[in-house]
Amino acid sequence: MANAALPKQKDSGISPLDKLIKVIGGAKDSGIFLKECRHTGKLILRGDPSNDLFMKETSKVLAYKLPLTPNTFLKNNEYTSVWLGPDEWLVNSLPGDESLLERDLNIALTDVHHSVTNVSDNSTIIQLSGPNARSVIMKGCAVDIHPRVFNPGDAFQSNLAAASVIMWQLDLIPTFNIMVRASFASYLWKWLLDAGAEFGVQIQQ
């Protein structure tokens, strides 16, 4: 039996925060910008990086080698690969591209013990940006994200408030992608709004 594939149209279906994000807006000079990255493709890839074939085949599909440094991610225009563990990666794609990627990886890794699991709907990504983004995260996360030790290209899995998250930094604004399980998304969204309130929050499309 083939893996359940998603239909082609990119924006159909309901994302975990659709019902919650009612008002888009807020002051332009807000210290915090929040948005949901709807329906980003997400695959969990498992495999043994000491197996050359696994590394070779995956880099063919992704067009780069999977990151082996803990707490980092690599990306190109199509795919973002976040290190999650010594044999586990999160691979993000543009909305709708994940089925194809899943198929390609499975074909490429036919002879290698691996697993690719489509978890696009298992969680969602909240993007937190703005000059005060770090302050907001520090209210609920014990990982050191000071620029001396944490920069674009860095990632981690940890807890943010009472939610388990995977987080990675995109740029120097700074902007963070926070991936959270679907059923925790509304809790985390409310928590972020509350934590950001003192800086002013603008909600973006």
């Binding site: 594939a5 309901i14 209210k139 000071h146």
Partner: protein
Amino acid sequence: MTMQRFRIKDLGQVDRSKPLRFKFDGKFYEGYRGDTLASALLANGIHLVGRSFKYHRPRGLLSAGAEEPNALIQVGEGNSTDPNTRATQIILRDGLTVTSQNRWPNLTFDLGYVNNLIHRLLPAGFYYKTFMWPASWWMRYEYWIRRVAGLGEAPKGADPDRYEKNHAHCDVLIVGSGPAGLSAALAAGQTGARVILTEEQNSFGGSLTYNTDCTIDGSPAFEWVKRTVATLSSMPEVILLKATVTTGYYDHNYMTLLETTDNDNQTGSEYKTRQRLWKVRAKRVVLATGQIERPLIFRDNDRPGIMLSASMRAYLNRYGVSPGNRVLLFTNNDDAYRTAISLKKNNVPIAGIVDLRSDPDGELVDQVRSEGITIYPGHAIVSTAGYLRIKSVKIMQLSQDGTKLIGSMKKIRCDSIGMSGGWNPTVHLFSQSGGKLKWDEELAQFLPKTAAQNLVSIGGCDGTQGLTDCLKTGFKAGAEAARATNNKGRAPRLPKVIEPKYNNQRTIWLIPPERANKKIGKYFVDFQNDVTASDISLAAREGYRSVEHLKRYTTMGMGTDQGKTSNVAALAILGETLGTNAPNIGHTTFRPPYTPATIGAYAGRNLGLLFDPVRTTAMNECHKELGAKFEHVGQWMRAWYYPKPNETRQQAVNREVKAARDRVGILDASTLGKIDIKGPDAAEFLNRIYTNAWLKLAPGRARYGLMLKEDGMVMDDGVTTHLNPGHFHMTTTTGGAASVLEWLEEWHQTEWPDLKVYFTSVTEQWAVASICGPNCRKLLSDLAPDLGLSNEEFPFMSVKEGNVAGITARIFRISFTGELSFEINVPRRYGAELWNALMQEGKKYDICPYGTEAMHVLRAEKGFIIVGQETDGTVTPYDLGMDWIVSKTKHDFVGKRALKRSDIIKNDRKQLVGLLTENEKEVIPEGSQIVETPTTAPPMAMVGHVTSSYYSPNCNRSIAMALVKGGKEKIGQTLHIPLRNKTIKVTVTDTQFFDKEGIRLDG
């Protein structure tokens, strides 16, 4: 409003341009920005600020800092009132309303003072010796004891304020911004290290805020403080935190700082934070917490107006407040001389200096002499007079050895006393960190000995004396700490310091009475809890000789000040009583927090909506629209039942249960845990983790599995499906989703790493609608006409993939109701769409949504168990009558051996059976206990309990399952369920109540 009669012109650091009005005990006063409540009260000539805990004696300000035992104030009113706040730490703001506490009817006339008059009946620990007769009266005694005890009043309602939390990491955390702390911060900061400097007071500088007799590089020391703070502020990696108490020192250099942020200079906003709890992980900690002055212990040393010498100097030089109109100093060291010089400089009349030392000398003494201030060397205060404020003292000469008073008595008038009994290093945080203390005989101090964590103690808290040495050790420690955390740089140049020099002190812990056996008056050691020197010797006499016994028996050091001014003296007095010295007695352990810390700050914003996440499924909105009632299942909110207007819960559930068997029912089953299992050894892994056999399950087929803990007890269950070769889809209970995944990983990683298999949680990837009932096949085929749903094409316990209502879905033909049933899994984003499509299309079959309650009834009709309801961690598969699922042939599976233990194989274990009530309409309450022979009243021997019990509309009667001792043998027998008002008679049956033949599964 009264004038600030005791404010000295142009002295101190308060802002005279910003007068602030405040109310104390109903009366208005004025102070300035930069004042504490304590300094503002003193500026208005108010010394009397509270009553003591036990004797209700009038008390004044003892200190100017966190150690204050007496001035406990009720701040504010209504919901934002704060009881027991130390006046010395209340930052004055406009409109502040405060009241004194624990007195009735008022502060100057307090009826509680009667305790002082009958004090002889109330020695330490008196309550252990009485209130025992008659035995039944303790609750009455207690009622009054509780009302007399307690200090301030709790707020009446919810706290209107916000509290924040903040995690931080740094290279160097420096506690204390006195000369040592500031210089350490400067040295560390200029290397570029990440530095946090904390100061519990509202401004930086520590002792330099009031020691105006020192100069650094030729200018007043406080100028150096201002310059240094400015330099530190300009360093991007340095965080300066004032009004911030370092409350706790936990493992691995984890520190809590409680910052008070709602000081007067903050603009108000809806999201204004009152306090912020910092949780800091520091690579290295520098403790520069300074010292706390000790009181002298003499008769009636607690009268308002008697305060610590350095605190008096702080009120004078920092706040520009004169302590009174005639000040007496009483000391065993040079500190009081320093205070005297400051007082004199500001024209405050001085009654003299009573010095325990018989021959004080040195530059400070000389200076005092040259100012014409009278010194009484080798003298001590014998007694004091004055009820609401000190009026006079009597002094006498001390014998050579300090154990007796000799000569004639002399009376000195005064309205305030500055006393100094030496200093205690503030070793609280060091001790919290696990460090051990040592006793320094010469300094008569407990000092840090071995550090247990990555820290260094410097300055006063390490026994360092003098400004020069504090700066020197500060620079050194700061630079070292920076280097140790991989920052490069050198220590700053040591500035040129001019400071007064101290000579030795003469330590006399307890001033003797004028005659050896004179027994009047009280010698207070612990001011707040009214523990006197005689209480300590009483405790010792009665055998309470360890430090902890002393503390617990007398309550010494157990007040809200935690004995900051009293602990060491108490130990010394205990030591003298027992004929030994302080170090042999030991010391109590210091525990967090350093000063009392707001509970709300520890709770933070994790309240209300944010207390604990509420998890909902993709179909949640659909249930809401249908008017569902919800129930909590762990963090999940699940649709419980869907009442129609005017329908009771029972009616709704009955209707849903009927519909699911008669027509078609639909359930949101999305919360079940789901784990994707892939790898060539997946089947072998399942074979080891489940009790039954898994190696021969064909792709496309599903099987029910039971998981045991290694002790043989049922842990979880669910259906696992073989999707493709080497690819399984496991389901777990809703509550077990996370723990089962961790369980699988644990066994794989630590026990069977050779098995090639990977696990990935997909619980929320899939939204699941479960449809059941005779019409469900028709319904599904309407929405998925190409799927092929006949029993041949799609047999029970198998899986198919296809489009349902245009959505790609995985459909499992499994059943938790015993009916023909399909579980349709679609990606979460289409969950609501699927639900709505099924509801819409199902109209023609009169589809009925059912909730968790109906689901429970439906499965109970079939005798299916729910892990967590029929099981509680003490139940084996055999107990559940599920012998069929335990493989007899497998070499191993988790929990196998435990099932063979002697008490596990006994026949009289509690076993799952069915129960039928005599009265078919009667539903036994779940959880009811079962007996064989009811008696008229408890106790009765119980043989089991009811695990599930419902009214079954399909059976037209009530049904129940129960775990009953030796239950299998009891089938057919009668048992009894004794409720409070009646006893229900039941017959033991098997657990299948409906469709025993199982013919409905295929529709």
